[in-house]
Amino acid sequence: MVSTEEIWAILSEVPDPEIPVINVVEMGIVRDVKISGGLVEVVITPTYSGCPAMKAIEEDIEEVLREKKIANYHIRTVLSPAWTTDWMTDEAREKLRETGIAPPEKDSADKNVLLGKVRVVKCPRCDSKSTHMISQFGSTACKALYKCDDCLEPFDYFKCI
C-alpha cells in the first residue's frame, strides 16, 4: 500500500515543462494528495488560466504514476485557492536565479500593478538593482522581460501573482 509521502516524493520527480529546473511540487502546482480505498487523488492548480503547460503537467504526472505501478489514480484541477508565487519554495527561487530567471518577490499579488508602478528587480546575473522592464509579458505568461542596465543582459522575471 502506497503512502501519501511516497506519492509526494514521486511527484517531486516531475519537472515543470517550461522551467525544468523546478519540479511541480516546488512550483506549488500540486496542492494535495489523498488516498482512499486504494484510489490516489492528486489535486493540482494552474499557475495561469491559459497556461499551456497544464495539459503536459497532467500527462507527466500520469506517466510517472504509471511507471511506479500506480494504476488507480485521479487528477483533479482546482481553481481555489488561486495559485500564488508565494507558494514557491526558497529552494525553487534559488534554482530560478541560478538559471538566470529573477525569482518573484515574496509579498505576492503586485498591488502596484494597478497603480502602474514598477518593482525594483535584481539582475539574476550580476545582482545589480539598476534594471528596467522591457515588457510586462515575457517568454511565458508567468514571466516579464527585463534588462540589466549594468551587465546589459536581458532576463526573465517571474511575475508575482
Partner: protein, 247 residues
Amino acid sequence: MASDHLLHLADNALILGQRLAEWCGHGPVLEEDIALTNTALDYIGQATFLYKYAAESEGQGRDEDQLAFLRDAWDYKNSLIVELPNGDYAQTVTRQFLFSAWYYLYLRNLENSSDEFLRGFAEKSIKEVRYHLQHSSDWVKRLGDGTEESHRRMNDAIRELWPFTGEMFTSAEFEKAASEAGVAPQPELLLAEWRQIVETVFTEATLKMPEDGFMHLGGKVGKHTEYLGYILSDLQFLQRAYPNSKW
C-alpha cells in the same frame, strides 16, 4: 440549457481571446506580439473553465468544446465590444482597456458570489486581468500622450468604441436573475467606478471623455454584428468540416 450567464462570461473571454490571437505574428513590435497572445491565452483558459462548468451544470453530456465549437452566432451571448475588429493598435488597446476596466470591477464583485465555482474563478482570473488592465492603460497613455498621429488615432478609436461600452452596464434578463440570486454583480452598479478609472487614465493620456450618446445593445441576447459570424467560421472550421474529430 446551459446557463446564459455563464455562457455570457465564457463567450466574452473566448471571442476576445480569439480576436487578440489574430495579432499573433502581426504585433507592431515583438514584445507586444507576445503580450497580446499571452493575454489571449489567459482569456481562452478562462473560457475553458467557464464552458466546462456550464456544461457540467447543464448535465446534458456536452463538454466545453461542444459549447465553443458547435453553437451558432445567435447562441453566443458575448457583449458586442469584444467581437469588433482589431483595427489599428490604438483601437485594439482601447478596446482592451475599456473591457479590462469593466472586467476587473466585475470579477472583484464576483469574488463574493454565492456560487462557489464563480468565487474561485474570480479569485484566479482577477490576478490575470489586473495585468491586462495595466498593460492596456499604459498603452492608452503612451499613444494618447504620444505624437499628433497617435493622439488622433486614439481619438478615432474612442469615437468608434464608445457606443459599445453601454452594453457592459445594461443588464440582460439573465443578469438580473443572477444578481438577484447573489450569483453576480448587477452591471449597472459598476458604471460609476468604471467611469472613474477611464477618466483617470484618459486625463493622463490627454484624451477627453466622450459624451454618452446612442449605445448599441444586443450581443447578450444573441443579436450580433456581422463580425461574429466571420470569427466563428474561423474558430469553428475544423469541427464543422470534420465533426467530432479529436486530437
